[in-house]
Each structure stands twice: as C-alpha cells, then as structure tokens.
C-alpha cells in the first residue's frame, strides 16, 4: 500500500489544482471491494503489477454507494487522472452520463460493451466461451453424470457463466444433469464461503461430483468443501488450481488483470472502442498447470483444444445468456 502514501494535499481543493499536471491513472473498484478474491482483486493485481514494473503511481477508490459512482468519476476526471479505469456493469449508466463532459479524459470500463462514447474503452469478456470449456471438462471428469454450478449473486452476468458451463457439459454428454444454485440475492452473496460450503454439500447429496464456483469470495468455501468431501471443483477468474492441488480440476480464467494492466501501460493514449476478450484473445481460458496435471487426461486436453479452436473458427457457437435472456441448456 505504498502506492500513494502521502496525503494528496491538505484538502481536495489542493489536490484538484495539483492533480492537473500529473496525469496518473485512476482505478475505481466496484462495491465488492479491492480484496474480493475475484473480479476486483484481479484488477488490483493488474494495477499493482503495472506499478511495480514501471514505478508509476495511481489513485484508487473502493465504491461504498451507488451515488458515489458518478461522484468518483467526476472528481478523478477533474483532478486530471487519465485514463480512469472502472470496474463492473454498474458503472455503465454513470459513464454514459459523465464521459461526454470530459472529452479529454479516456475512461476504461471492464464488463461493459454497449455504450457509445468516443473517449471510452470498453472491455468485455466472453465468459460463456471459457465456461463452455470448463463445462466440457466437468462432464468428462464426472463419474456420476451430475455436475454442479454455484453462482454468487443472482444477476444476468452469473447466469451467463452458468449457461456456457451447461452447454459445454451437454456437448460432451447430452444426458448429463446440471444442478445450478445461486448463493443469494444481495451483494453479501459474493462473500459468503459458509453458504458456498452448504450449497456444495447439497449438490453432492444430489449426486454432483464436479462443482464450478462462479461466486467471488464464496467460491473459497465451495473449493474447500469439495476438497474435503473428495470431489472435484472448478475455480473462476484467476487461477485457483493451487488452492487445493490435485483437487481443483481447473479454473476458468478471466483476465481482468491483463485488461487493467494493458490500459495502464498504454496511459493517456489508450485506444478507445469496444474490445471483447474471448478465447482467441486469451481473455478467457482454462488453467492448466502442475497442480491439475494429473487430473486432466489426454482425452480431455484434446477435446478442449479442439473445442477452443472450433469456437474461435466459428464452427461451434456458444449461446450467450444475454441474447434473449434465457439459456437453452439450463433453467435458472
């Protein structure tokens, strides 16, 4: 935490005048907070890596309330921060209102791809494609013919994960049973490992022997219980294979850290536009390392590599939950 040790001037007013000359990037975390073991933490990791490698400094804030979103955007923009990197779909609406007022500032937003502004870099991830691949692996590893999905908060984004996963599992075994549960309906669902553990046990009792957690900090409880009960689990966002070596089948990588690192490295003249990071761009993928080497059979590897190439080439199409707010392979 030595990134910006000194207080930025005696008051905000001082910071406002001093800030104009610095043009350091700013990072706005979503409500989950910087250390959510998932999405925001990945952004933090990307930013820290940039700071370590370049010796640069950046401002950051963790959101506490919805009203702060626009406030933080405006304050950082007025203080001369550039680019301003924001996390999560909750920033879409505030950005739509704010971006036009600061044409000289470039805004970067992760998980948003539908806005229209010239000074905006929108980075989306094809989570359904990555989830499809781990779904295939889950179905191949399952002996009971039942695999589980544990989501965090019940929002479209998480259904999007689950939908890709179910399609992948069914591509391998059309008769497979996919059990899906959401942890909750409040933001607390992102950080409830105890409930994650209970849901895992419930899914095991329904026959699941591989569970995929797309639930932020809740996933820690899912992976732990899966390891304790002797079944396989699948991590999410960052490579979580090391948490329980030999017991985590794989992790669905979503390289938020790379998106943040790239934006910070490019600095003021970061390219604007819409960027969807799919399998082809290595924005999403499956984690293969020494921790899961003995779990991944050659068949699995071959099937995943083939599917990956098929998706990139367009021979296989993974249906996105967003297309018509429903999933062909899974009922929520």
């Amino acid at each position: 935490m030595t990134l910006m040790k000194s207080l930025m001037g005696a008051a905000a007013a001082v910071a406002l005048t001093a800030g104009a000359a610095m043009a350091e990037p700013a990072l706005i975390f979503d409500l989950g907070g910087k250390f959510d073991k998932s999405f925001n933490e990945a952004a933090h990791n990307g930013a820290s890596r940039w700071a370590e490698e370049t010796g640069g400094t950046y401002r950051e804030i963790e959101m506490q309330s919805e009203a702060q979103r626009e406030q933080a955007l405006r304050r950082f923009a007025e203080a001369g921060s550039n680019p301003i990197i924001t996390m999560g779909f909750g920033m879409a609406d505030p950005l739509a209102a704010v971006a036009a007022d600061y044409p000289d500032t470039t805004f970067v937003v992760v998980d948003v791809t539908w806005l229209d502004a010239p000074n905006l870099r929108q980075v989306g991830f094809a989570e359904h494609e990555g989830s499809y691949l781990v779904g295939m692996m889950a179905a191949m590893a399952s002996k009971t013919g039942t695999v589980g999905f544990i989501g965090g908060m019940d929002v479209p984004l998480i259904r999007h994960f689950g939908c890709g996963y179910a399609q992948g599992a069914k591509a391998v075994n059309p008769d497979i049973n996919v059990v899906a549960n959401m942890t909750g309906t409040t933001p607390a669902a992102w950080n409830d490992p105890v409930k994650g553990s209970e849901l895992t046990k419930a899914q095991i009792s329904q026959g699941a022997d591989v569970v995929y957690a797309a639930a932020g900090g809740t996933g820690v409880g899912v992976l732990q219980t899966a390891a304790d009960e002797g079944i396989l689990s699948i991590g999410v966002d960052s490579n979580q294979n090391h948490l329980h070596p030999g017991q985590v089948l794989t992790s669905m990588l979503k390289r938020v850290d790379v998106a943040v690192y790239d934006a910070m490295s490019a600095g003021d003249d970061v390219e604007t536009g819409v960027f969807v990071m799919g399998l082809a761009q290595d924005g999403v993928g499956v984690a293969m390392d020494e921790n899961n080497a003995e779990l991944v059979t050659d068949d699995m590897k071959a099937a995943v590599d083939k599917a990956r190439q098929d998706i990139i080439d367009g021979n296989v199409k993974v249906v996105s939950y967003y297309e018509n707010d429903s999933c062909p392979a899974l009922q929520f």
Partner: protein, 364 residues
Amino acid sequence: MEKMPKWADVVLIPLISLLLATILSAIVILAIGEDPIEAVNLMVTGALGSTYGWGYTLYYATNFIFTGLAVAVAFHARLFNIGGEGQAMLGGLGVAIVCLSVPWPHWTIALLAACGASMLFGAAWAAIPAYLQAKRGSHIVITTIMFNFIAAALLNYMLVNVMKPSGSQDPATARFPEAVHLPSFQSLFSTADNVVFRGAPVNITFFIAILACFAVWALIWRTRLGYEIRAYGFSETGAVYAGISPVRITIIAMLISGALAGMMAINNVMGEAERLVLNSTENAGFIGIAVALMGRSHPFGVFLAALLFGFLYQGGAELALWTQIPRDLIVIVQGLVILFTGALDNMVRAPLEKLFISLRKEAK
C-alpha cells in the same frame, strides 16, 4: 424531578458522545499511520466546504431523515422496526412502477403519484410483520429483519426477470422518462453565471423530508393518535386501561413507519438514480436506527442526526478519494459514532447526572 436540565440531555450528551467517538477515531487513524487532523480537515472541506459537498451531504441526509423518522415513529409505540431497509426497497419498487408505467405530463404530478406509491408499498411491507406482532405475538424485530431478506429476494426477482430491459446486462430498470426527473438543487439555485451544487444529487425531495419532519412532530405531539401511540409506548397496560387498542396502535404505528421508510425511494430512486438498481437502499434503513437513537426519536433530533450521518458519508467518500485510508476505517468511524450515541448512552449520562446533582446541592 429532573435529574438534569433538558439542554444537557438534548445537546450536551450527544456532543460529548460525538467527541468521544471522534477521539477514538483519531487514535485509530494515527495507528494506521495517517494524520487525523488532515483527515478531519479533508472530511470537513469535502462535505461542507462547497455547495458541491453540501449537495452530497444533504442528499444522504434526506435518505436518513426518512428512515430515521420511520424508526422514530415506531419507537414511540415501543416497536423496534428494523425493517426500514426492506420497506425502502419496496418503496423503490413502487416508485419505479409508477414512473415507468404511466406517461406523466409533468414531474409535479408524477411526484405526487410516486409519493403515494412509495408510501403504499412501504406500508404494505410493514403491514405483515405488524399484523403478526399485533395478533400472533411474533416479535417485530425478528419478522422485520426477515422481511428485509424477502424484500431483497423479491427485488432481485423483479429486476432480473421482469423489469430489466431485455438484452441489458445490468439488473436495473430502464431510465425513467425525462418528464419525471425531479429538479435538483443545481437546477433550482444556479444562475447563469454561478453554477452551484454542480453534479450533486440533492434534489427537491429534501424539502419533502423537512415537511415529513413537521408532519411527524404534529402527529406525535399534536394529535390524538400520536397521544395514543405515546401512551401505548409508555405502558401497554395503562393504554389498555385507557381504552386504547394495542392491536390498532401496533398496526397503525407500523404502517406509518413503513410508509416513511418507503418514501426514501423518492430521493434515491426518483431523485438521484432515475432508475431502480438492485442496491438502491445501501443500508440507509439500518443507519435510520442510529439516526433515531441519536435524535432521541424527536423529528428535530432526527434531522440533526441525519445531517451528521450525511456528513460522515460524504466526508468519508472524500477521504477514500484522496487518501490511502481504507473504506473500512470510515465504517469504523461511523460505527463508533453509533456505539457512543446509541449503545453507550449511559456511560456519558450517568456521570453527567451525578455532576448536575452535586452542582445543584452546592447551589443550595
């Protein structure tokens, strides 16, 4: 006979509690290696040093006035309504339905309708726990807190499955049409060459909150119903002896309480976000408990306490923006204020009472 003068009870005790909380917070800030004087300076200039800062402080305060009044009214009937959070969520649902389903010609009419809808939805959400308490004896604390979770689940269902524009990835309703946007302080008070409250979310709802303070004061101290509510709160058996129906008072007090909590949605949903998002209430329902405790359940006290918490919220945001002080510390500061003004009230009160009694003896 009074142990100490009224001014000491109303002004001195909260001030001393606040001072104690500030000192403890300063120690915590020192302990993590930051300068507490700088931090206070930043909070004060950030929250009160400009019309922009005031704009946020008053916006938060408006939320807390409504939820604080809601808790206060229930307190007078000795009912602990901790369901303000859920009632405010439902109020937001009512506002969103009203704003989106009817093509309103002008915001004034929409405001009236939205007020009605928010009160109705908030009151309806309080009605079930009220009924269960009055008729079945299920404790209101348990039922209202459970209803917060049910409200969150209901809101989630409505936003994700029903009210979300199709194709949107954000679980929120569409933006309300231009005609129902409430005037902000910026549009009300800015002149051509002097823009004040720039970008701040405070809006005309602030005045409605002040009206609500007067209305609650008049209700509690100037009407027969208010007298009955207070009488019931002081002594249930006494109230029954006087012919006051406990069932009726419990239900009416909770309905008023729920309606007030629901009205918060006018501010945060219609006034600020102009759409309904999942996380619209952001614990204002719980802050309302602290506000009512600190304000001694009196509307004027609630008003002042809401301003204080508005200041803490906005000042805390400025701290988070410009320093490395983590946001959890701001929660600690807020928690200390709640602890000292609410839970540890007697720690300050008892010695102060002794002091006043001994002073009085000396004077004789």
